[in-house]
């Protein structure tokens, strides 16, 4: 029963990550992504999925999908119905699953963040619905597969598993919220294991929306740079396999890292603009560190939300400076959106996996196009590839609507 639960009165279990899957414009899977993030490669190119000739911005970080999807328990007919978003989700989930070494199971929670789900089906539905003469062909399929819970269900089935699906849609904080929510499910005693992550594909409506808001950069995406002029969009997915430390040890699993803290709250300031001083950001960073039992002095790197917009970065810079205090002067910060763009509902999950990479491989991801620090930044921006001793990292995510989230991860030794 979901309620009442039989939650244990003991201390919450430690939660570790035993599998991670990632799909971004840098490549498919851990290795090409780690290499790309380590060197600060940027992956932007002219948009090819839809016509952007009338948009201000013309580029995005598009993913090259493989010609075929990995073999799963799905039929060819089922995978033929996948749109880009579902394909991205399947690829990331499959990698995380393989790495975890889990066997198919019942009652495996699958917690996902997304802003758009199968938006491309919705767009196709709309385009056909407004045409005359009316045609119904494919419309029922589009109406059905448009829904993210259907995509999640199909991907879970691809792994031979079944379990409760939770779709979190807190705009661009969705991915972090999904990972945090799964972490809480395990700590609360509702599950021993969970898959969690985020996914979003590039779509015309969303690209046009950010372009209409003049939030997209018409030059290059340079988070925290004094000359920044906006964000760049990307697409992708990331999924992590979370389980109790006891479960991982019992089966002798390889542990990639430990998720030790999570904080989330909502900023009431404005639908699309953060509080100028980052009050809610400060609150969630404090919450995450309080649950993790760490202070700013113990944090070795912050993967910032860092979209590259003027308002977001100045607000986040203020919050980080207030949170870190004197530690700010030596606390390395960067935004990997400089490499792969803003992945919206996938961003928080992808950035959590980037944090895992820094913990496992001991480097910091640079923003290689960063030149001039914004005066609001009292902290150093990582702008050259560098190896580093990284034991504890913090990842920030904020969304339209004001939901903020922070995750704290620790190296597993």
């Amino acid at each position: 029963m979901l309620f009442p639960t039989t939650s244990s009165p003991q201390a919450p279990p430690r939660v570790v990550i035993t599998g991670a899957g990632i799909m971004t414009a840098l490549g498919r899977g851990w290795k090409p992504n780690a290499e790309g993030f380590r060197t600060g490669r940027t992956a932007f190119r002219p948009v090819s999925h839809f016509n952007v000739s009338r948009q201000r911005a013309k580029t995005a970080a598009e993913v090259d999908l493989p010609a075929t999807l990995p073999p799963t328990r799905l039929s060819a007919k089922q995978t033929a119905r996948f749109d880009r978003a579902a394909s991205l989700l399947l690829l990331a989930t499959h990698e995380a699953w393989q790495q975890s070494g889990w066997e198919p199971m019942e009652n495996l929670p699958f917690v996902l963040g997304t802003t758009a789900g199968g938006m491309s089906f919705g767009e196709a539905y709309f385009r056909q619905a407004v045409q005359t003469p009316r045609r119904h062909r494919h419309q029922p399929t589009r109406a059905f597969h448009y829904q993210p819970q259907v995509q999640a269900r199909t991907v879970l089935e691809a792994l031979g598993s079944n379990g409760p699906i939770t779709i979190v849609s807190n705009a661009c904080a969705s991915g972090s919220n999904a990972v945090g929510h799964a972490w809480e499910l395990i700590r609360y005693g509702q599950a021993e294991r969970a898959l969690a992550g985020g996914y979003d594909a590039l779509t015309e409506l969303v690209f046009s929306g950010f372009d209409a808001l003049q939030a997209l950069s018409t030059t290059v995406c340079r988070p925290f740079d004094a000359r920044r002029d906006g964000l760049a969009l990307g697409e992708g997915a990331a999924v992590v396999a979370l389980e109790t430390l006891e479960s991982a040890r019992r089966r002798g699993a390889s542990i990639l890292g430990e998720l030790i803290g999570y904080g989330t709250s909502i900023d009431h300031h404005h639908l699309t603009q953060p509080h100028p001083q980052g009050d809610t950001t400060l609150m969630v960073m404090n919450q995450a560190c309080a649950t993790a039992g760490v202070t700013p002095e113990a944090v070795d790197y912050i993967n910032a939300h860092g979209t590259g917009t003027v308002l977001n970065d100045s607000s986040e810079a203020a919050a980080i400076s207030r949170w870190a205090g004197r530690r700010a002067a030596t606390l390395p910060v960067s935004s990997t959106k400089a490499s792969i763009g803003h992945l919206l509902g996938a961003a928080g999950a992808v950035e959590a996996v980037v944090c895992l990479m820094t913990l496992c491989e001991q480097w910091l991801p640079p923003e290689t196009l960063f030149e001039t620090p914004d005066p609001a930044c009292s902290f150093p921006i990582v702008h050259r590839p560098q190896d580093a001793r990284v034991n504890t990292v913090l990842s920030n995510s904020f969304g339209f609507g004001g939901v903020n989230a922070s995750l704290v991860l620790r190296r597993w030794t």
Partner: protein, 358 residues
Amino acid sequence: MSRIFVTRLGAVSPAGWNVAALRTALDRGNPLPAQSLARPGWEKPLPTRLVPNPSVRPEFLTHPRLRRTSPITHYVVASALEATARLRVDQDPRFRLGLVVCLQSGCVNYSCRFYEETLKDPATASPLLFPETVYAAPASHLAAVLGNISLASSLVGDPATFLQGLSLGAQWLDENRVDACLVIGAEEINWILADALWHLERPAILTAGAGAICLCREPEPSIGVELAAITDAHTYSTQNTRTQAARAMRGQLGKCSPGELLCDGVGNSPRTDAAELNAWRDWTGPRMSPKHILGEGLMAAAAWQCVAACDAVAGGRFAAANVSLVGSNQQAMGARFVRADSAISHLSTGRSPGNIRP
């Protein structure tokens, strides 16, 4: 685990802008009249049940954040204000209110308008519309109106997701992260959504609105209703059909005692209703099917089921009420609400509802 009580309820439906209107419509037991919604390019319109305009313009619409919002936000805010009316959340800055907004289709009006403008010419698509297209917009606006929401999440899924939202709210309360938690299910309507429903479930009549349940830990502020159980989420798959999932949900709610109410999600779609009807075929007690009266409100309909069940218990008509939600494409879930004897009942109609079939 803490006991969880229902503090108050809120509803906006085709019956009107409060729980009393919902109750009256359900008590009468007659399907509300349908209105025609024009479908461009088609002579035959789509039948829908629209939310009537409020008799007086709601005061909350003067809030600056609600200036450009679409109907779904109005429904969310109206139901939330009704469900928090006694909490005086705006008078105690230390009061921590949680918010879970559950949606299936979400902000379809502005999404379609914005995409239509994009297709015409993206260079002139309105930047005012786009932020209102995101699933999280209604929760954000409500947080701005109420002012002291400390924790919020928007969940997307089929209608059974509303019970996941209730479970999340109960968890936040149990962990003492909030002092009360609003759980809202909401939808709005446009011709594209009605067209999509026509493709998937032809006999259904689409409707819109919101239902809100406010949860708390203490019995004192409650309406005399306690959340007794939420079943597991029985997710559909090729190995676990909708019929099997519905049966598993039914099994978890247990054998019900005489005098208990079943508030089900059966509408007027024989194909869609079959799994749920099968799961409850041995039910001999009183039964209420709000969709017969109100129509297919997707997530809002799930919320109305729970609101109607709680209202029936709060009104003293039943000692307990079971809610059955066999979702369209994700999961089957059920819940059970019981009379909290230690709580004070503030709502009592004492009338026997006409929609409840013995």
